[in-house]
């Protein structure tokens, strides 16, 4: 069971470098063939300093740590029971290859439905780059099926 006392808990910030190799592997994995995401010159012609980070890849960079689920497991979440319920991204600036991003996450809410059969964990993450430029806010809602 989750503990509502963990509402407001701030996770240790994580950082991730945006590497071109990762971007091209991600593009391949999602079937992306738009050259803006694959070719430096095309990206630069479109006004980016380098290959742009596609919209949902910020979620992946957030998990780019040795133990991406450790924070959840520490507060009592079991991976076997875990499903992704909601995800939002609000964008302020586009991150590009070469950026170093910092992810600051806080548990925004914990609540239960169906007399505890379903528990929900809402995590909000602010993403900034190496110049402290606000890139995006992510809100992830996870459901634990007890």
């Amino acid at each position: 069971m989750l503990d509502t006392n963990d509402i407001g808990k701030v996770f240790d910030p994580t950082t991730a470098s945006v590497e071109k190799g990762r971007l091209s592997r991600f593009a391949k994995a999602i079937g992306e063939n738009n050259l803006i995401y694959l070719d430096d010159a095309t990206a630069k012609n479109a006004g980016y300093d380098d290959l742009p980070v596609p919209p949902t890849f910020l979620f992946c960079l957030k998990m780019d740590v040795p133990e991406p689920f450790a924070n959840y497991e520490k507060i009592g979440v079991s991976l076997q029971k875990l499903l992704h319920a909601n995800q939002s991204f609000e964008y302020f600036n586009t991150a590009v290859a070469g950026d170093v991003l910092t992810f600051n996450s806080v548990i925004e809410d914990i609540y239960a439905k169906k007399e505890g059969a379903l528990e929900f964990l809402v995590e909000k993450t602010k993403v900034v780059n190496q110049q402290n430029l606000h890139i995006a806010d992510l809100v992830t809602t996870l459901v634990i099926r007890n």
């Binding site: 990762r22 592997r25 738009n34 780019d64 499903l83 995800q87 586009t94």
Partner: protein
């Protein structure tokens, strides 16, 4: 080029159809995304969790929704994407992504449109992901 004037409420974005989701798709996505939750790549783990088989990452289909949008407008137009994962996407499913313009409005001089985005199983039509995207077309540079 997509312009605010030419977009009507009720019109649809060009749909995006994907390849069938195979075990290879999931292995590639796990590696590229860093989401290595074994429930998506290890049938033994999936069975231990009471599933018949591995199933697709929800974020894979959300990435397809991202492609739906960036095929249509410059990524810098996307201000917000907010979705709910409504059903698990099984192996071998084929996803079709759709977008329908629900609202258009000029707010503080910015041309804002709201798009209902959905990822569905192309066979059954079952909705896997549903949500809204908010786009600012004022500085659309592509297409």
């Amino acid at each position: 080029m997509i312009t605010f004037d030419k977009i009507n409420v009720g019109s649809f974005l060009p749909a995006l159809s994907t390849e069938k989701i195979s075990r290879t798709t999931l292995a590639l996505y796990a590696g590229a995304s860093g989401d290595e939750n074994p429930i998506h790549i290890d049938i033994d783990f999936a069975k231990s969790a009471g599933m018949d088989d591995v199933f697709a990452h929800g974020m894979l289909s959300m990435a397809y929704l991202g492609r739906l949008l960036t095929n249509w407008v410059d990524q810098r137009c996307i201000k917000k994407i907010d979705v709910r994962f409504t059903a698990i996407t099984p192996l071998f499913a084929q996803i079709i992504c759709t977008g329908e313009v629900k609202n258009k409005e000029v707010i503080d001089g910015q041309e804002i449109i709201e798009v209902l985005v959905e990822a569905k199983d192309s066979n059954s039509g079952e909705v896997k992901i549903s949500g809204m995207a908010i786009l600012n077309l004022t500085e659309n540079k592509s297409n």
